[in-house]
């Protein structure tokens, strides 16, 4: 039964990784931007929720309702003010800009919040759990995270495939110049894609923060999980990212069942194995 428990926990943990990775996947799929600040943005969202909860006294869950829309707006502005200019200068410039953004965010957080570890207090949600059998119980927070992840990915997929704006995003990703010929302003379209990516990374950052502590320097080590989920699943495919997140989560919890020291190593080894033997990922994209 321990093994079944490990599988269940792995799938639930994978949901969090998928939620965290889908913003990275979206930016890469639509604009070919590799966002090195992705992990730090998640941490920034956590601190923003922490500050909101501390100052106003509302619960951290309610802070989420504020932080996610704020991040969407921030995403649009970051694209129009920063990424858009660097895109014209080529992929290397964009990579450097996101690297710079990562350093700026980390140091701003250090400066304003010090290097102390914090947690987002969500009351009983973090400890309450649902008992399925005598050996298997799942925490409400993990289930909530998984459902959120599934909801966000299905929502994004429906947005891209069923709405006019979503089709325009895919068209712009296919051929930006041809998209201007149907009347799409690529700067605005990319801005919207960035806004969506920022909103999802904020949500993921908050879910991370509710289950474990965070400090200003933890972003890059979180980022690697997102990278691994995206690469395992297949670059530029949202369903692939979902599968990649779950496979990564499973690898970590199953390995932890053997020996807790293997947890992270198993994820990294799986990632390397995918790169070596199936570099296109498990569910490669035809396109977004």
């Amino acid at each position: 039964m321990d093994w079944v428990n490990a599988l269940v926990q792995g799938i639930l943990l994978g949901g969090l990784y998928a939620l965290f990775a889908c913003g990275l996947s979206l930016l890469f799929g639509v604009m070919r931007i590799v966002n090195l600040a992705h992990g730090d943005l998640a941490v920034l969202a956590a601190f923003l929720a922490y500050a909101t909860a501390t100052v106003t006294g509302v619960s951290a869950l309610w802070a989420t309702v504020v932080v996610v829309p704020v991040f969407a707006v921030l995403g649009y502005l970051v694209h129009r003010g920063l990424l858009e200019r660097s895109l014209a200068a080529g992929p290397l410039a964009t990579l450097l800009v996101t690297f710079g953004l990562s350093i700026v965010v980390q140091n701003l957080l250090l400066e304003s919040f010090s290097a102390d570890s914090r947690t987002l207090d969500v009351g009983s949600l973090v400890s309450a759990s649902l008992r399925i059998t005598d050996d298997i119980s799942v925490s409400y927070l993990a289930v909530l995270t998984f459902l959120l992840a599934a909801g966000v990915l299905v929502g994004l997929q429906l947005f891209l495939s069923r709405t006019q704006l979503g089709r325009i995003v895919r068209a712009t990703s296919d051929d930006p110049e041809a998209a201007t010929l149907v009347g799409a302003d690529s700067r605005h379209v990319y801005g919207i894609a960035t806004a969506l990516a920022f909103a999802t990374v904020a949500l993921a950052g908050l879910m991370f923060a509710m289950r474990s502590s965070f400090d200003p320097n933890i972003g890059p080590s979180r980022l690697i999980f997102a990278f691994e989920a995206v690469v395992i699943g297949g670059l530029g495919s949202l369903w692939g990212t979902f599968v990649g997140g779950i496979v990564l989560g499973l690898a970590q919890t199953v390995a932890a069942q053997i020996d807790p020291a293997l947890t992270l190593l198993a994820g990294h080894l799986l990632f390397l194995a995918v790169l070596a033997f199936r570099p296109q990922g498990l569910l490669p994209a035809r396109s977004m």
Binding site: Q164, R170, V182, G183, M288
Partner: protein, 241 residues
């Protein structure tokens, strides 16, 4: 009434002036064919009209309004649609999605997706097929449909015949009268001179970015067109030996 008026237009590709001091005007409801050899500046002209390229000199007036500095994506709503050279469909989108995307900034008018599907009935049953799987002729038809559903006042067709079998080209040009009946003004760029002469009300021949000959297909002689097309002096083209 003059719908499009281009004066003293210069468009540069680096050092090269691909369009060099060009004047051109198109009246409402008229089909103008711009012909010329490879590198005469035809595609560059259309891309400048659609706003993808910025002219370095001159003005473009559309419906009385100076649109020289208007960005490409706003010209669709103003009523200009380009069917670009090489089709440029969105390869990962289906036939239907390519047409739907064409309606993004549509103006009110007679063209709808249903009407395009009447023009090309095969698009109905293959609407879920991805555009990259279509043949060249089918892609060209979808590209024309994608431009039409925005209900342009001026439709720019760039090298529709390029890379297609003659029978396919003829079938695509067969729909042109219906497009004109809907009140659309058409500017076609063609390397295939006989095809251009068949469909056009007026013909303008470009040579090295300049207009060297203009008239109706009826008033121009094959010799005149040949001279203008290849830039030959009259004596040689006249065949004096």
């Amino acid at each position: 009434m003059t719908l499009l008026e281009v004066s003293d237009l210069e468009v540069r590709h680096g050092q090269l002036a691909a369009v060099n001091g060009l004047d051109l005007s198109v009246s409402d409801g008229v089909t103008l064919a711009v012909i010329g050899a490879n590198g005469a500046g035809k595609s560059t002209l259309l891309r400048a009209l659609a706003g993808v390229l910025r002219p370095s000199r001159g003005t473009i007036r559309f419906d009385g309004q100076d649109i020289t500095a208007m960005p490409a994506h706003r010209r669709v709503a103003a009523g200009i649609a380009l069917v670009p050279e090489g089709r440029r469909l969105f390869p990962s989108l289906t036939v239907e999605e390519n047409l739907l995307v064409g309606t993004y900034r549509k103006r009110p008018g007679p063209w709808t997706i249903a009407r395009v599907q009447e023009l090309f009935p095969w698009m109905v049953e293959r609407r879920r097929q991805v555009a990259s799987q279509l043949s060249g002729g089918e892609q060209q038809a979808v590209a024309i449909g994608r431009a039409l559903v925005s209900n342009p006042r001026l439709l720019l067709l760039d090298e529709v015949s390029l890379g297609l079998a003659p029978v396919i080209v003829r079938r695509i040009y067969e729909v042109l009268p219906e497009i004109l009946d809907a009140g659309t003004t058409v500017l076609v760029v063609e390397q295939d001179v006989s095809q251009a002469l068949r469909v056009a009300d007026r013909v303008q021949c470009l040579l090295e970015g300049r207009s060297v000959l203009e008239g109706t297909p009826a008033e121009l002689t094959p010799d005149q067109i040949e001279q203008a097309y290849f830039g030959l002096p009259p004596a040689v083209a006249g065949g004096t030996d």
